[in-house]
């Protein structure tokens, strides 16, 4: 019961605070009066996924964006596999057109197949270093996504396979993946067209996910 209350509290806080995902941003094109950034994206994120995100541009000396996102895995069952993120990114420093940025997010995600339903709380951290012009940008990115704690609930199919299987929360960390790649974009008026692509490796640097790449195409629109 305590877990349920805590989970509800977490989800409420997730929904009510200013949140969005790791948006791909042209910092050079982001004007101080532009507060809201809406983004839609699609691409390969372990499987084919569609996403929405929202960013809130804080009025601070050092550019900061609070952000949250929601993405769904493709498939006939819509809401069985999804991921939400809440966090922010910051432009740490700038030397002429070169910028160094950092981002951190909390993650809640869900996975379901005929055998098991997984719910996971995790976190990711990433850095980007790139060259930014008002009309375009290109950057390299490096990040780490940790699945910190995961809840397992098995279906009857798996209980027949292994009747003694233990449902519940599992630790230590059930997984972690590094990603490295590039991102870039073209900016016009209040819009950005963006592209991210790269490779994913598991945390031991010896193995990879079944499809060890990611690719995301996005469109962002900024509002005052």
């Amino acid at each position: 019961m305590k877990a349920i209350v805590a989970l509800i509290t977490f989800l409420i806080s997730l929904l009510m605070s200013s949140f969005l995902q790791a948006q791909t941003i042209n910092w050079e094109n982001l004007k101080s009066e532009e507060k809201h950034i809406l983004n839609v994206n699609a691409g390969w994120d372990y499987s084919f996924a569609y996403g929405l995100s929202y960013g809130y541009h804080l009025k601070t000396k050092m550019p900061i964006i609070l952000e949250s996102s929601f993405s769904l895995a493709s498939g006939e069952v819509i809401f069985d596999d999804f991921k939400t993120k809440i966090g922010g990114q910051i432009n740490v420093f700038q030397i002429e057109n070169f910028r160094f940025n950092a981002a951190i997010h909390g993650i809640y995600r869900r996975y379901e197949n005929p055998i098991v339903t997984l719910q996971n709380f995790g976190a990711d951290a990433s850095t980007t270093i790139g060259y930014y012009k008002p009309k375009w940008f290109v950057a390299g990115e490096f990040g780490f996504d940790k699945a910190i704690v995961t809840h397992f609930k098995h279906s009857e199919i798996y209980k027949e396979v292994y009747p003694e299987v233990k449902n519940g929360w599992y630790e230590p960390s059930t997984g972690g993946n590094f990603n490295f790649g590039i991102q870039g974009g073209y900016s016009f008026n209040k819009s950005d067209l963006t592209l991210r692509a790269g490779k994913v490796m598991t945390q031991d640097f010896k193995s990879t996910p079944l499809i060890p790449f990611y690719l995301q195409i996005g469109y962002s629109y900024k509002l005052d």
């Binding site: 509290t9 498939g75 997984l118 059930t174």
Partner: protein, 330 residues
């Protein structure tokens, strides 16, 4: 801004509270998500051979002709082949074992596996259970197990008195690739594909973390019986635990070194029985004929009303074909 700080504090406290109040399980501990192996659970039936510890059991009179069942995979186990034990009532000494690193048998490091090693294991299993030098030995292999059976006869044609091959996935690298292309077409937008791949961000597992890796592969097994699968598999069939490390090791061996289990099959003069499922669109008569052509004498039989998992789902149609073949060689 104060509101944001408040919500962040509530969230952080909630997560801390939530994590500290629940009983957590260890994901890397056998017995939680996957069953223990024979080296972890002494109550399981097992044998020590060739430097390893295998999950194994037998049915029937030890003095009857021996029938060794070779399960699929690599890495799967004999649980979905247990219908074969019914041949114990028909005058055969039926031997089951989970191959090295598979099912409930002991796990080993990824780099330790080789084709010759699993052939040696089979030699030792036969020797362990054989009750006399004149006892006839038959092999019954399914899928990868059928490939292993062919590999054994290819290496030791004079040691085996009869061979039953139920849809071997490819007796050499070329045929394996051909079968793989026919049986594993994926639609990147489908639920089945998401079910197979999306889990990679939840569970990873390091090399030789066997409990995690075996569990992860096990829950991906629903891919094989997804609606519309070309192998004619109608639903889940039981397994104990899948040996992911041995599977990955043999995939590496296949990709890096290739393999060919057909080089010496011409020396095997005994008739070989090939079985294929009527509903497996990826295999069929033409693929069976390609594989059977490597043997001097063969018989090909279609098993009606089933696909690749014929032993579990349609044993009543498999048994008469197998029994007729074995009784002629008994």
């Amino acid at each position: 801004m104060k509101t944001k700080v408040l919500y962040s504090a509530v969230m952080a406290f909630s997560i801390f509270f939530f994590l500290s109040c629940e009983n957590e399980n260890n994901i890397d501990e056998s017995g939680n998500l996957v069953p223990k192996t024979v080296d972890e659970d002494p109550s399981l039936p097992s044998i020590f051979v060739n430097g390893t510890h295998l999950h194994s059991e037998t049915f029937g009179n030890p003095n009857d002709p021996m029938l060794v069942f070779l399960h699929g995979g690599p890495g799967s186990d004999y649980r979905n082949g247990l219908n074969v034990q019914q041949l114990a009532d028909k005058g055969f000494y039926v031997v089951f074992y989970d191959q090295r690193g598979s099912g409930l048998s002991k796990r080993h490091d990824k780099k330790s596996y080789s084709i010759q090693l699993v052939l040696d294991d089979l030699t030792e299993v036969i020797a362990y259970y054989r009750t006399s030098p004149t006892q006839k030995i038959f092999l019954f292999g399914h899928s990868w197990g059928a490939m292993l059976g062919a590999a054994y006869v290819n290496s030791y044609p004079d040691k085996i008195d009869g061979l039953i091959l139920a849809e071997p996935g490819g007796l050499n690298k070329k045929l394996l690739d051909e079968y793989g292309e026919m049986s594993r077409k994926i639609n990147i937008f489908s639920e089945v594909t998401s079910n197979l791949l999306y889990v990679d961000q939840f569970i990873t597992g390091k090399e030789n973390q066997h409990a995690i890796l075996d569990y992860k592969y096990g829950i991906s097994s629903s891919f094989s019986y997804a609606k519309g699968n070309t192998e004619g598999i109608p639903g889940p069939s039981p397994f104990w635990r899948i040996g992911t490390t041995v599977l990955e090791s043999f995939i590496d061996i296949s990709e890096n070194d290739g393999f060919d289990f057909t080089t010496n099959l011409a020396q095997y003069q005994t008739k070989v029985l090939f079985l294929y499922g009527e509903l497996n669109k990826s295999y069929g008569l033409s693929f069976a004929q390609k594989e059977a052509a490597y043997f001097p004498v063969s018989e090909i039989e279609e098993v009606k009303g089933t696909g690749h998992e014929m032993i579990y789902f349609k044993w009543e149609n498999v048994e008469p074909l197998v029994l007729s073949y074995l009784n002629n060689l008994k």
